[in-house]
Structure formats: structure tokens, C-alpha cells
Amino acid sequence: MTEVAPGLRVSELRCHYPPASAAVVDIGELTLGPGATGLVGVNGAGKTTLLLTLAGARRPQHGTVTLDGVDLYGRDRREIVTRIGFMPQELDLPRELRVADAVSYVSWLRGVPGRVAATREPELLELVGLQDRRTDRLGRLSGGMRRRLVLATALVTAPGVLLLDEPTTGLDPEQRANLRALLMDLPGATVTVLSSHVMEDVEQMTTRIAVLDEGRVLHHGGTAAFVEERGGPHRSAELAFLTTLSGARS
């Protein structure tokens, strides 16, 4: 019996948005194993589409996505997607909803049993520092608080895989530092994929990096080595990224 490597694995993956036929994501093989992987690329590189596909929210037109060897879009889809937490860029909840209700509602929708959800809700809000905002309506939260709430909702199923879609975009430096600290201290998730174009975040929070451009993976390897090898004398993550990008495009 072949041993299945833990983590997310994509194979011959191709996604496009009909009626356009051009591939937004076109990846031969990619394995996102234990630890944190940074997914970097310019706007429109295909990061969000790939994350949605990895989250079980968008089946690719071609290829397979597996988690620990189980097809994400197969018969066990509903069971397996609960093992994946996804933190989207925007909060997809009514503004009039209260913070605690938001977490409870997402728990219910994700299929978490009521008793478990009732225990987890205060824990999660404490984890993201919103325990004093339980009764606040979502419309009254600041940008940073909304991001933390989205993170809490991504964690309701205690997922083994956590997908973060540009978690710090639009936040001020202080909010960004706080959220980054929070993300780095998160317990539970064994596989974390962080999509970002803020190289500083990727450098500090991930051990592996995948550079995406026009839907294709240009580089996949250790973050430290990536910066070391391509970041020039100052070991700049930005320079490493740009070097990779220009090298591929030329």
C-alpha cells in the first residue's frame, strides 16, 4: 500500500472562468505539506482562485485536489471541507449580525455540532481578542477587528488546514503586526497556506514559498533559501520575488 503524503496536493490543475477559456490557474503538480507555505504573486496571478479551489469552494475544470489523499470534490466533499479553514479577504455576513452570532452561524453552517460550537465560540473570540465585542454588530467593527473575526470563523471547525487570503491587506502597520502575531501563534492547523503580496508577511510567517504568475508556479521551495539565493546582497524578499518574476517573463 502506497503511503499518502499528508497535506494538500494538486495535480494537473487547470481553472478558467467561462466564457473565457484562458487558464487562470495552470499547475502540473504542487504539494502543500505540513508547515506554513506562502503563496505570492502579483494581482491577478491566480492566488485567490487557487485558494478557493483548495478550500473546496470551486471545482477545477481539470485536474484533482486531494487532502491527505482524499479527493476534495469527491463523494466525501462535505466531510473533508470541514477540515479546511478558509479566511477570505472580505466578511461575507450581514452587517447587522452580532459578533458572537457570526461565529455561531458559521459554525452551524459548517456542520459543527451545537454543543461543540457553543464551547468553541467564546474560545475563538478570546483567541482573536474579540471577547469584549461579542454583542457588537459587524457593521461597527474596524477593519482589523473584521479580519480577526473572519479568522475566528475560519477556525470554527478546528481545521487541520488553514488557507489565508491576503489577511493583512488594507490594515494599518499596527493592525498588521497584531494580526501577524496572532496568525503565527495559532494552535491546531498543521498545514497553513498564506496568500499575500506583502513579502514581509511571507518572509516572517512561512517556511516554504510558492511564486505564482499567470496561474503557473514559477518557484516552490524553502522561504529562507529563496530569499538567500535570489534576494541579493541585502537578502530582500521583494528582490527575490521580482528576480523570479522577471526571470520567468524574460
Binding site: 450581514p94 447587522e96 457593521g139
Partner: protein, 426 residues
């Protein structure tokens, strides 16, 4: 789509969404416009009225769209950015203007469609009455402003249908007299023959609705809309004007239409001359033809027809001419029945009693009915059934009938209605 136009519709969605929205607005607008059938084909002014009446539903739907759009705008986080601009009210009001424009296009398309259809059906166009579109567009602005207010302040997506229902309710409140009918457009169900729109009433409505629109738009976001001195002045003036117009409309009687002092007539026919109001000449040729066919029976008896039969219009009460008193649906139809033509022939004078608050003598109805049936019988258009009470007299022969017909006709011509009697045995 040009860049400028694209800027206006940004908050409404892409080009396909805007087009779908327009189609939806036209579709819902057609419901009230066609709710009375297509009787407006017989009167261009009535068609114009039916076109503006589409706002009964277009307005509430536009208010709902405005509400949904402003919920999106208000919750998008762009508000702080708006406040920093030199004219912060402009980007705030631009979506409202776009929605108003879209709804205005829908209403105009329906109006164009129904008025063109009416013209093609034979109704004479009155382009000088097109100005009624202006008050209608102001009503639409006030309706859209209701949606802007609810969306801008409420900031809840579920408010869109509430905004639509509330806007529709404003029309109902006007109809039941709980408030002046400032949200009313068209749909009066009159032919407008010999009448025209009352500029004073519609002017007051325009002022009131502009005031309502300005006030609601200001309330939708006071910090942004009232940020500059010029916007505050303009809005204050409009609200003040609206308040005055509203109060004036709420006191006394303000009809939306008034009689024309010298209504235009169109006359046709030689043997029988018939004149109808220029607005409603659709059934005229058919009426003349049928009347001419039946009038020969009267001529055979040596009876003189009036110089002309004239449509009953306000101010037209000359007893020397015959009267054309048609029901509204008869006036608007393309053809009339032989019974209608016979009824007109039995009105050889426009007797004041026909229009008096006191009804003419009972016998006058029976004699005119019998005379009309005689005309139809003589023209071969009526075959009395076996159980017909009038059958014996109708088939008794001309010599038997001559005296009663002659006397009755002369009595009708001289408006001596009290003297009218049925023939013996009927």
C-alpha cells in the same frame, strides 16, 4: 458605452446588468399602463397618460433599486473618501441620478410606445401636451429619493422591497386622501376630449415633488449632501418651494385637467354630418357610415336631419345641432355598433335635459329606444324575435308608423321631451 456614461452606471453594475434592469423596469411599467386594456389607442392624450401611469410601478421598483444600491454604497467604506472631495454631494448623488435616468428611459420608452401606437391607430397627436412628462419625471425623482433615504440611512439589504412597498404606499395614501396626490401620474381614465392638462395643478405637483426629493436626498446623508454652501442653499430653496406647493395642493380642489374653452372638432360625412372632438376621432368614419345607412329611413318620411351631430363636449350645448353622446369605450374604439349609430340619430338636438341633474322624463328613454329600434329595423339590421314586445309594431308597415315616427322625431328636435309618448299598443 462612452467613458462618461460608464461612470454614471458604475454603481448599477455592468452593461448587461443595466440592460436587464431597463428591461425589467419596462416590463413592470407595462403592467399598470396596460391594466385597462388598450383603450388609450383612441386618444393620444390618454395614451400619454397611460405612459406616465407606468410610474405607478416603475417608481417603486426604482426606489427599491436605489435602496439596494445605496446600501452597497453606504457600506462600501467610500464615505470618508467622499467627504474629502470638493463637491462631496456629487459622487453621493450620482448613483441616484443614474437610477432616475434608467427609470426615466423606461417610462419614456413606454410612453413613446403607447403614444405611437395611438397615433398609428388614428388618434391625433398633441405634442404640445408632452410637457406633462416633466412633472412625471419629478415624481420619479421623489420616488427614487425614498429609496436613497432608506438605503443610505438603513444600510440593510433587506430594505429594498420595503422601500418599493413604501413608495407604492405613498401613491395609495394620495389616492385615499390621506395626503395630497403628489405621487400620482396619469391613469385618470378620461378621454381628454375637449380637455387638457391643468398647468397650475401639475406645476404645484412638480414643485412639491422636487421639494420632497431634495429633502429626502439631504436626509440620506446630511454630512455629504449638505457639506457645501451652494448645495445647502439649493436644497433649502427646493424644500421651501416644495412645502409651499404641498400646502397649496392640500387645500382646495386641484384637478389635473381642465376644459378647453374652444375645443377643436373634426367633421365627416355629407348626407349625415358628424363632428367629434379632435382628440377622439377614431370611430368617426365608421359612425358616419352606419348613421348614413340608417338615416335614409328618416329622409323617406321627409324628416330633416340637424345640420350636424356634435360630440358632447364641455361648453357645447347648441340645441340646433344633434348630439353625439357616446360611452367612453365607444369613443375610444375603432368601430361602433349599429345600435350606437341609431342612438345618435335619435338625438337630433342637444337638449339641456340630457345633461341636467334632473333626469329627462321616463317616457323619453322608451321612445328614443323604440325609435332607434325602428331605424335598425328599417335598415334591415334588426330581426325582432317572436317574443319581442315591439315586434308587432315594428312589422306593422310604414303607413302605420309614419305618424308616430314623424311626431316623435320633431318632438326630439324641439326638445319637447315631456310630450313624448309610445305608440298605441306598445
Amino acid at each position: 458605452m462612452t467613458g462618461r456614461l460608464a461612470g454614471y452606471v458604475t454603481w448599477l453594475g455592468d452593461r448587461r446588468t443595466v440592460l436587464l434592469g431597463l428591461v425589467a423596469l419596462v416590463a413592470v411599467g407595462l403592467v399598470p399602463s396596460l391594466s385597462r386594456g388598450a383603450d388609450w389607442l383612441g386618444s393620444w392624450k390618454m395614451a400619454l397618460d397611460a405612459g406616465t401611469f407606468s410610474l405607478t410601478l416603475i417608481g417603486p421598483v426604482a426606489a427599491g433599486i436605489a435602496c439596494a444600491t445605496y446600501v452597497r454604497l453606504a457600506t462600501s467604506g467610500v464615505e470618508p473618501l467622499l467627504r474629502t472631495g470638493p463637491r462631496p454631494w456629487w459622487p453621493w448623488l450620482r448613483p441616484a441620478l443614474s437610477i432616475w435616468g434608467l427609470a426615466a428611459v423606461a417610462m419614456s420608452a413606454i410612453t413613446l410606445g403607447v403614444t405611437t401606437s395611438a397615433a398609428l391607430a388614428g388618434a391625433v397627436p398633441y405634442y404640445d401636451t408632452l410637457w406633462v412628462l416633466v412633472p412625471a419625471l419629478c415624481v420619479l425623482a421623489a420616488q427614487v429619493a425614498v429609496g436613497v433615504l432608506l438605503g443610505g440611512l438603513g444600510r440593510r439589504v433587506w430594505l429594498a422591497p420595503v422601500a418599493a412597498a413604501a413608495t407604492f404606499s405613498l401613491g395609495v395614501l394620495g389616492a385615499i386622501g390621506a395626503m395630497p396626490e403628489i405621487f400620482r401620474t396619469g391613469g385618470l381614465g378620461v378621454t381628454y376630449a375637449g380637455e387638457t392638462y391643468d398647468a397650475t395643478t401639475l406645476g404645484l405637483q412638480t414643485g412639491a415633488t422636487l421639494g420632497v426629493a431634495a429633502g429626502l436626498l439631504l436626509l440620506s446623508n446630511r454630512t455629504v449632501v449638505g457639506r457645501t454652501a451652494i448645495s445647502r442653499v439649493v436644497i433649502s430653496l427646493l424644500v421651501l418651494l416644495g412645502a409651499v406647493c404641498y400646502v397649496v395642493l392640500g387645500n382646495g380642489i386641484h384637478d389635473r385637467y381642465r376644459a378647453v374653452s374652444d375645443p377643436e372638432l373634426v367633421c365627416r360625412g355629407d348626407a349625415v354630418r358628424v363632428c367629434m372632438a379632435r382628440e377622439t376621432t377614431r370611430p368617426l368614419d365608421d359612425l358616419v357610415e352606419r348613421m348614413e345607412r340608417q338615416a335614409s329611413a328618416l329622409r323617406e318620411l321627409g324628416l330633416e336631419l340637424p345640420p350636424r351631430y356634435v360630440d358632447y363636449l364641455a361648453g357645447s350645448d347648441d340645441e340646433r345641432q344633434g348630439g353625439v353622446m357616446l360611452l367612453v369605450e365607444e369613443t375610444l374604439a375603432s368601430t361602433v355598433s349599429d345600435e350606437t349609430a341609431a342612438r345618435v340619430l335619435t338625438t337630433p338636438a342637444q337638449c339641456a335635459a340630457y345633461r341636467s341633474d334632473i333626469a329627462p322624463p321616463e317616457a323619453s328613454f322608451d321612445t328614443r329606444r323604440l325609435l332607434a329600434r325602428w331605424l335598425l329595423f328599417r335598415a334591415g339590421l334588426l330581426q325582432p324575435r317572436v317574443d319581442d314586445f315591439d315586434r308587432e309594431w315594428l312589422e306593422s308597415g310604414l303607413e302605420e308608423q309614419r305618424s308616430w315616427v314623424t311626431t316623435t322625431y320633431e318632438q326630439l328636435r324641439s326638445c319637447d321631451l315631456d310630450a313624448l309618448r309610445l305608440p298605441a299598443g306598445v
